[in-house]
Amino acid sequence: MSRTSPEQSRRIQIIFILLLIAILVALPQVIKSDSTINLAVYVLLFVSLASSWNILGGFSGQTNLGHAAFFGAGALTTRMLWLSGWNLFPSLLAGGLVAVALALLIGVPAFRLRGVYFAIGTLALSQILYITVGNMLPMISSLPAQDLAVYQLAPRYYLFLAIALFTIGAGYALINSRLGLGIMAVREEEDAAESLGVSALKHKLVALALSAFFGGLTGGAFAFYHVGYYPQLTFGPEWTFDALMMVYIGGMGTIVGPIIGAVFFVILRELLALNLAEMHLIVFGTLFILVVLFLPGGFMGVWGKISKALARQQ
């Protein structure tokens, strides 16, 4: 067996990625079934949400238990602005920025403390918003009749695709940058990183802001996609914990892990929900515990071990 050089394997990777993107772009043209496209929308939504959670949780090592706050803030802002007559893209951008503002509000005080304060703070923030939004906006938010008349699924699908690619690309660019090196150094050993000139607070805040921004964008896309939902829905804890589980299952701190985790999770959930109804929660809870206990690197960790073992055999 001839060994491939790094350049060759890199070229193969790029071709594979381009091919995958081409297939995803062609999908709505080929498949006319709305239910399949809807499933693909959910896959892309969770690819974005999990990848955005991973920017903070995986690269900077800070556990965010309130990502739903950013998703919900993005969704609420975008929905309100868009339905009030703004163009879609400024509405999405505003949604992302509101999520960033919210993130800094909790991050600036919480990151000055070490330990679990950030995890508790984010969880509290998202739950407060969940209850407050439920009380203040108890009515369902539906698209007006004239929008419903022209509703098309394909543009929604493409928006989710673009945001997923954007989020993944941003994560990739980040970990291959000076900033990303500093962020990972802080994750590994904060004292040593600071002794070398890396400001831990600043780097955590950058990771948090990016994570929140893409979480907010994803929420905005959801607001553009969904015909009618209670505004409270987007602040629900399941957005946080589903994304978190996907990252753990796929492989935290990697680019590919959250993607694999999201695809696996959404498709498996679909299959289980068809057959087991609400029982799928038990399946995922069990799966999550097993992964954390026995496969701390997730699927990507397993893959890394296999490829290492194969390399040794050669």
Binding site: N176, R187, A192, E194, S199
Partner: protein, 242 residues
């Protein structure tokens, strides 16, 4: 103007005076040894100089600038780097990436990530870890981790390097290697303040030695003066040594 000036440095933890009114100067290009029994305040002094602890009182002037109260992450870009008594490598990063952090964030930082990688490879070669560049730090031995920590600090191009017990936990052969490394660093005109327990090594390397006991400076001088100083022999070296 001295290169580093420490004046009346004090640090109390509650009622305990860990460092009490310590004063000394370091001239550029010198190697200063900091010795004393366990708990005499050596590491605390290092932590005060690098911003890891805030002093209760006192002044530290580096190149004429007061550096007390500055965030610790600003010390390295100013030219002060340190190692830790218990090494703190970035375990999940490769040896090369470990060193690159120093290159990218230290003084006079590399222009691009690519340049940083190249220069970091040289730094690894200098400490004898050239073939370990792609290994994760968690797969390195203690000696290799110490070398890595040194390479990482050197990559930040410090003018003042603080070494906290670099030789602790090393066998005699490894300690000799570490001595040779420090001699080599001296060639590049980096000023060194080192905390060490191996008296033979510190006497061979240091230009001057500062002795601490119970948080206070009890002696300062050349290695020859220090090993004959009766007070130092009493509290630290012991009669057998003299």
């Amino acid at each position: 103007m001295p290169f580093l000036q420490v004046e009346g440095l004090c640090k109390s933890f509650g009622g305990l005076k860990a460092v009490n009114n310590v004063t000394f100067d370091v001239a550029e290009g010198q190697i200063i040894g900091l010795i004393g029994p366990n708990g005499s305040g050596k590491t605390t002094t290092l932590n005060l100089l690098t911003g890891f602890l805030k002093p209760t009182a006192g002044a530290v002037t580096f190149k004429g600038e007061n550096i007390i109260g500055r965030p610790r992450s600003q010390m390295c870009p100013k030219g002060i780097a340190r190692t830790f008594q218990i090494v703190k490598p970035f375990l999940g990063l490769t040896a090369l990436e470990n060193v690159m952090v120093g290159k990218v964030y230290g003084r006079d930082s590399a222009k691009s990530l690519k340049a940083a990688a190249e220069e970091s490879r040289e730094a690894l070669t200098r400490v004898g870890l050239a073939d370990k560049a792609r290994m994760l730090a968690k797969d390195l031995t203690l000696m290799q981790r110490k070398r890595l920590e040194l390479a990482r600090a050197l990559a930040a191009k410090p003018q003042l390097l603080l070494l906290d017990e670099l030789m602790a936990g090393l066998n005699p052969k490894e300690a000799d290697d570490a001595c040779a490394l420090i001699q080599q660093i001296r060639q590049s005109k980096i000023t060194i303040l080192m905390v060490e327990h191996i008296v033979k090594a510190i006497c061979a390397l240091s230009d001057r030695i500062v002795v601490l006991n119970m948080g206070e400076k009890i002696a300062e001088g050349t290695p020859d003066e220090i090993i004959c100083n009766p007070q130092v022999i009493d509290v630290y070296l012991g009669r057998a040594h003299a």
